[in-house]
């Protein structure tokens, strides 16, 4: 397994306020890596900065190339995809157009095959392909956002809170699809408040608190860590205190 994304000593600031401090992380090929942490820990900020939406101090390399001189659109073309927390769909356009635009940087001949793959992953989208994106349910919108990102044939897909506000049955579906992506050769960097579910499917994990990584390691080890369990997993080991 080789390294696909490596972030070294990253700092991200909103004006004078540093929201991410000295963070380093790695994502390998065919790997699911998760960043868990409470609301406001800086997870979304970090993903946005890796994508190029926010300026980042430090080094980000993707597939061996330093990303500093590439803007968002170039990063997409290089195979980095982001499904943002607010999904950012084209709400007044139909499902099919949203997907087609996801393949804007892909050869037209390949895009046809891509759309069939996305429909195979999310049959619901195929049923609703002529429906406007803004009229879909929350779960379907999440599927569409993931589908649109997958249309760009990313090597690494970054998912920001994909389970937020969705019914448990849909959340299970989305996490199942994330594992299918890994099997299909797409690496995933998953940011989640639902730490329990994220740690279950991830290979590696980082725990973020107030802009810094406080713990990192194999997801299974992190899941077994008492401190993490107490703070994020919603259950208590003996002797651990819950705030």
């Amino acid at each position: 397994m080789s390294t696909l994304l490596s972030v070294t000593d990253a700092h991200v600031a909103y004006g004078k306020v540093e929201a991410v401090r000295s963070v380093s992380l790695e994502v390998g090929t065919n790997e699911i890596v998760t960043i868990v942490g409470a609301n406001g820990a800086g997870k979304t900020t970090l993903l946005s900065a890796i994508m190029g939406i926010l300026p980042l101090k430090g080094r980000v390399a993707f597939a061996g190339q330093d990303l500093a001189r590439f803007d968002i659109e170039d990063r997409v073309a290089m195979g980095l995809g982001l499904v943002p927390e607010h999904r950012e769909l084209f709400v007044t356009m139909n499902v099919e157009d949203n997907l087609e635009l996801g393949a804007f940087r892909i050869e037209r001949s390949k895009a046809k095959a891509s759309i069939e793959r996305v429909y195979a992953l999310f049959p619901r989208l195929k049923e609703r392909r002529k429906q406007l994106a803004g009229t879909l349910s929350g779960g379907e919108q999440q599927m569409l956002a993931m589908g649109r990102a997958l249309m760009g044939e990313p090597k690494l897909l970054m998912l920001d809170e994909p389970s937020l506000g969705l019914a448990p049955i849909i959340v299970a579906d989305i996490f199942r699809i994330v594992t299918e992506l890994r099997a299909a050769g797409v690496s995933v960097l998953l940011v989640e408040q639902n730490a329990q579910a994220a740690l279950k499917i991830a290979d590696q994990a980082y725990v973020m608190e107030l802009g810094e990584f406080v713990l990192s390691g194999k997801a299974s080890d992190i899941a077994a860590n008492e401190r993490v369990a107490a703070s994020y997993l919603g259950f208590q080991h003996e002797g651990a205190s819950v705030i």
Partner: protein, 346 residues
């Protein structure tokens, strides 16, 4: 009022309205994609019209030189922006698009102008010159501000308008000009007389509306433009360059402006500053369309044209006042329908 006069006025109104519809559509397009309220749209009209009229009269239009000067400026902007990551392909591509292309057009214009080229050649040259001006203006004045607020973009837009109007006086002088009809000949149907020119106006307006509809509905680039208008971040995350969308929008707007000008200049004498008022009427239509709706803008433009025709017959002194007063009830209704206007965040 007798029926014949009314028919004449309606016909006149529809001819004017068709032009306003084109301009209104361009304004909606540019605003939706770039959030720029395109005040210089009127200058694209004048530049197109007067470049065409100058060429047809065998004079060299200054706009061809302006295109080259702006192109060199745009090239410099490209180089400056990419200074940290300059590479050969980027430099060559930008040099060809921003310097070589306007230089060739300038050379062509210089060699053809003296020979009084045929109408078709004048039209094509005028369109290309104004299209390049529109494209380079976007690069120089608006692309660097793309992330700022609507207000900043509006101020830049007013600045560009004033600069272009001043240059227009320099290039074309204070005298008005008329150009040759695009299509000569006429026929009568009942009491109405249709000139080749008015038929051309209808045909081109309809053709443009259909073409825009097909472009936005069916082509990937058209959809990308719509996507940029709906959600800029979403578009960037799909790999769509918002600068590319902005360029396409400005290119379309300047071509539409120039076509409108070429269509009007055989009917009316145009001066270097006439475009502003014509553009404003397109703007009235665009506002009635809420700066978002294309069909509503087109219909509103026909209403504006018709109101103008009737008011110039019955109260010609108050013609402009009456047309612009159309805005007041519309804005009032709109503000009642949506009382809170939020400044968008990008």
């Amino acid at each position: 009022m007798n029926t014949t006069i009314m028919l004449f006025l309606v016909q006149d109104g529809i001819t004017n309205g068709a032009i306003y519809a084109l301009l209104g559509l361009a304004l909606v397009l540019v605003f939706a994609v770039t959030r720029v309220i395109l005040i210089p749209q009127g200058e694209f009209v004048t530049y197109g019209a007067l470049t065409y009229a100058s060429l047809a009269a065998g004079q060299m239009p200054g706009t061809a030189k302006l295109a080259l000067a702006l192109g060199i400026g745009a090239f410099a902007f490209d180089l400056f922006e990419a200074r940290k990551a300059l590479h050969g392909r980027l430099i060559v591509r930008s040099f060809i698009a921003n310097v070589v292309l306007p230089a060739i057009v300038l050379a062509l214009t210089l060699s053809l102008a003296a020979q009084k080229p045929p109408v078709a050649v004048c039209i094509v040259l005028s369109l290309v010159i104004v299209a390049m001006i529109g494209l380079y203006l976007y690069r120089i004045a608006f692309q660097p501000l793309a992330h700022t607020s609507v207000l900043v973009l509006l101020i830049a837009s007013v600045g560009v308008h004033l600069a272009l109007q001043g240059l227009g006086l320099l290039f074309f002088g204070a005298e008005g000009q008329r150009g040759p009809a695009v299509l000569s000949g006429a026929f009568t149907a009942g009491a109405l007389r249709f000139t080749g020119q008015s038929i051309t106006v209808y045909a081109i307006t309809i053709a443009f509306i259909v073409a825009l509809w097909l472009f936005f509905g069916l082509t990937l680039y058209g959809k990308a433009l719509r996507a940029t208008a709906v959600n800029r971040l979403g578009a960037r995350l799909a790999g769509i360059r918002t600068t590319l969308s902005g360029q396409i929008a400005f290119l379309l707007a300047s071509v539409i402006g120039a076509i409108s000008g070429i269509l009007i200049v055989p009917i009316t004498t145009l001066y270097y500053d006439s475009g502003f008022l014509i553009g404003l009427k397109g703007f009235v239509a665009a506002i009635i369309g809420g700066l978002v709706s294309y069909p509503l803008t087109a219909v509103a433009a026909l209403v504006v044209g018709t109101v103008e025709a009737f008011s110039s017959f019955y109260a010609s002194n108050y013609k402009e006042v009456i047309v612009f007063m159309l805005l007041i009830p519309v804005l009032l209704l709109r503000s009642l329908a949506a009382p809170a206007v939020e400044e968008e965040k990008d």
